[in-house]
Symmetry: C2
């Protein structure tokens, strides 16, 4: 920090300097490219019923208990006696207690002040990078959710990929790392592949991070789709994770909150680097650049985490997972290599006939009026693969699969 309370001449002739790392970003974001292609197809084929198994967005309505809670919260805001202004940046205690209980039910013991409520996983997983020096090596699986990479490119950080492939079931392990690892992204169940690390694999990751003084950023956005009880739904089910991992969770997929916006980040009091508490640093970041999320949304989130709310979420999840099974079954019948769909709402398939990801996208759109997601959009190693999503109605998924069978 400097001070200009001194005599100095203004040096003219220069303009404000932009962050040049933005120029390293690919020009178009995956999903907007897909949206544009789909829109052009609809315009050219006004009579076609286009079925969207592309973007990972939920389609089913909120559980009624969340609706009721949010309406009651809105009413509170309209009356002086119950009106609420700024809430705690970290989230109201009632919601942090509810998240704590949700984790306790899966055997993970958290303190409520280890939970930081936010407006969604994408925000937190991007913003948390600010806590770390630019000079860290970033380890990112390939393929994976593209926001991880873009957030790092924007900051000019050094990114190293670890490759997913058919050999490792798109679950790369630490032996794929050839540099000093500092910040490691893990997404399990994985977006886009739907593959899930088992307990032994996550233990290897945790031990590796502890050994190398690295931090794991664990994205658990899809944990609610895990039905196999032997699979971990939180990194904190693994011993030692409290000392090396941050978990970023969300109600987006679990409770249909993609348009409501509520996520959370979990940082153990035991997570320290250079003698600094990462949780305290995150709190300071949030208190400076964030003002908490809507009280109304927090009341809805609290309701979702009650037994009644969780039952409502479960009904929606069951519909999506039935769809996933339908898609996986179709792939099996067509003899198409695939992973996912058993403990995740995504099916990751190898494009038939050696087609590239975008060629298969174009074929599916042109011939079947079905929108999917090209694997190449998730990384170099996604080329030749394709993601189908179970987020749609049972009828639409069944119809999409009929059409796929017809054209393949």
């Amino acid at each position: 920090m400097c001070d200009n309370r001194r005599d100095e001449k203004i040096i003219g002739g220069f303009i404000v300097k932009i962050n040049k790392h933005f120029l390293d970003l690919q020009d178009s974001y995956l999903f907007s490219t897909i949206a544009k292609k789909a829109a052009a197809h609809v315009e050219a084929n006004p009579d076609a019923q286009v079925l969207r198994l592309g973007i990972g967005d939920v389609t089913r309505p909120l559980p009624q208990v969340a609706v009721d809670a949010m309406k009651a919260a809105v009413d509170e805001m309209g009356v002086a006696a119950t009106f609420r202004g700024y809430g705690p940046e970290q989230g109201y205690p009632f919601l942090r207690e509810a998240i704590k209980a949700y984790y306790a039910a899966k055997g993970v013991d958290l303190a409520a002040d280890e939970i930081y409520v936010g407006d969604g996983a994408k925000s937190d997983i991007g913003n948390i990078l600010e806590l770390f020096d630019k000079d860290n090596n970033i380890i990112i699986p390939d393929p994976v959710y593209p926001a991880y990479l873009d957030a790092n490119i924007m900051a000019g950080r050094k990114v190293f990929y670890i490759n997913g492939d058919e050999g490792n079931g798109f679950l790369p392990m630490p032996d794929a790392i050839a540099v000093k690892p500092d910040i490691i992204y893990i997404c399990s169940p994985n977006n886009p592949t739907g593959s899930v690390y088992n307990r032994g694999q996550l233990k290897v990751w945790v031990d590796f991070a502890l050994e190398h003084g690295a931090i794991i950023l664990f994205d658990s956005a899809y944990e609610c789709f895990i039905s196999d009880k032997t699979l971990p739904t939180s990194i904190f089910e693994i011993e030692g994770a409290d000392k090396c991992a941050v978990e970023i969770g969300t109600l987006s997929k679990m409770a249909g909150f993609t348009g409501v916006r509520c996520g959370f980040t979990i940082i153990s009091h035991n997570l320290q680097f250079d003698g600094q508490s990462i949780g305290k640093m995150w709190m300071r970041r949030q208190a400076t650049k964030f003002n908490g999320i809507s009280y109304i949304v927090q009341k809805g989130a609290e309701a979702v985490l009650t037994p009644e709310g969780l039952a409502g979420c479960g009904e929606n999840i069951a519909v999506y997972m039935d769809n996933a099974k339908t898609i996986a079954k179709t792939m099996a019948e067509l003899g198409i290599w695939h992973v996912g769909g058993d403990n995740a709402p995504y099916i990751w398939l190898k494009c038939p006939n050696g087609l590239s990801s975008w060629d298969f996208f174009d074929k599916l759109l042109a011939e079947a009026h079905v929108v999917g997601t090209p694997g190449a959009g998730f990384g170099v190693k996604g080329e030749g693969y394709f993601r189908l999503s179970a987020f749609n109605s049972k009828e639409n998924v069944a119809e999409a699969m009929r059409r796929l069978k017809n054209i393949l």
Copy 2:
């Protein structure tokens, strides 16, 4: 960006490096220190009626039209046919059109795609720094809202202050700048001083920024309190601002949305540096690290900007501004130097008897059970001054002023 698909040995023995700039932050955030002192006072004086004229938070409930709109939106989310998932990161067109109309009414012509909806001014004003190289000189008024400074300290940026004082009415002008200016923060009406730049002064700022290739980050959070029609409520009322300024607005104070969360950032298509559109860069930042705000909140914000909603806001604003007049009148009667309170909900006063800001805070709390905000919390030049806020009931403000008169 690097690639590790090559043979390289892992270099061990180091751990992930934290962002050391966080260590340069002052240990405690202003308002949490105040909250702790107030809580301790309440505990020590359980029978005292403590009156809070400290934090800048609204106290009056939402306009009914916003309540109705949000309840209807919640209902939509509970039904499959009207359920909405991810919305546009930039905000729904209906809300951007409503904000456009709000600006049109004050004579500012915007395109809807120059408006970026966000979760609040604090988020946007911090995050927008990411678009600019670290090597820019940051110009910050002193005193001012502390989040500007903290966001820059965290990023290790070079901060230069421009001094507010009684001589300039706490409205520093460009002649106070002694370095090459790159990024200039302007907050008008100012938080904490309540002083407002007039049209001529803002024109000097815009011309200065254009001449020096600098960008102005204009925080208009308190524009709704301006009643003097000759004063500008938006930087875009000044010719040339489209080419040098970003405006960050919010519904927090205007519509009582501090706990609902809705702000917006306005970036003209004409704002370019190094041949790059700042609006496009911001869109890319938001699409990568943000997922838009709640549909429910956006429907509430749209309702607030209807004539009925604005009338409801106006009633609340009138109450606060009556309070501001009461406070300013008391200061005048006590012969205490002050600014603000006429077009802003804050009164900035010189601590009587040469007391320091925190000594006056302690005196007010101990002797009058009134919580205010020490000016020193807003910068070095705030020492010896004090902020009183009009955000409270008419009765509480009147009672607080009675107590002040008794002890001074």
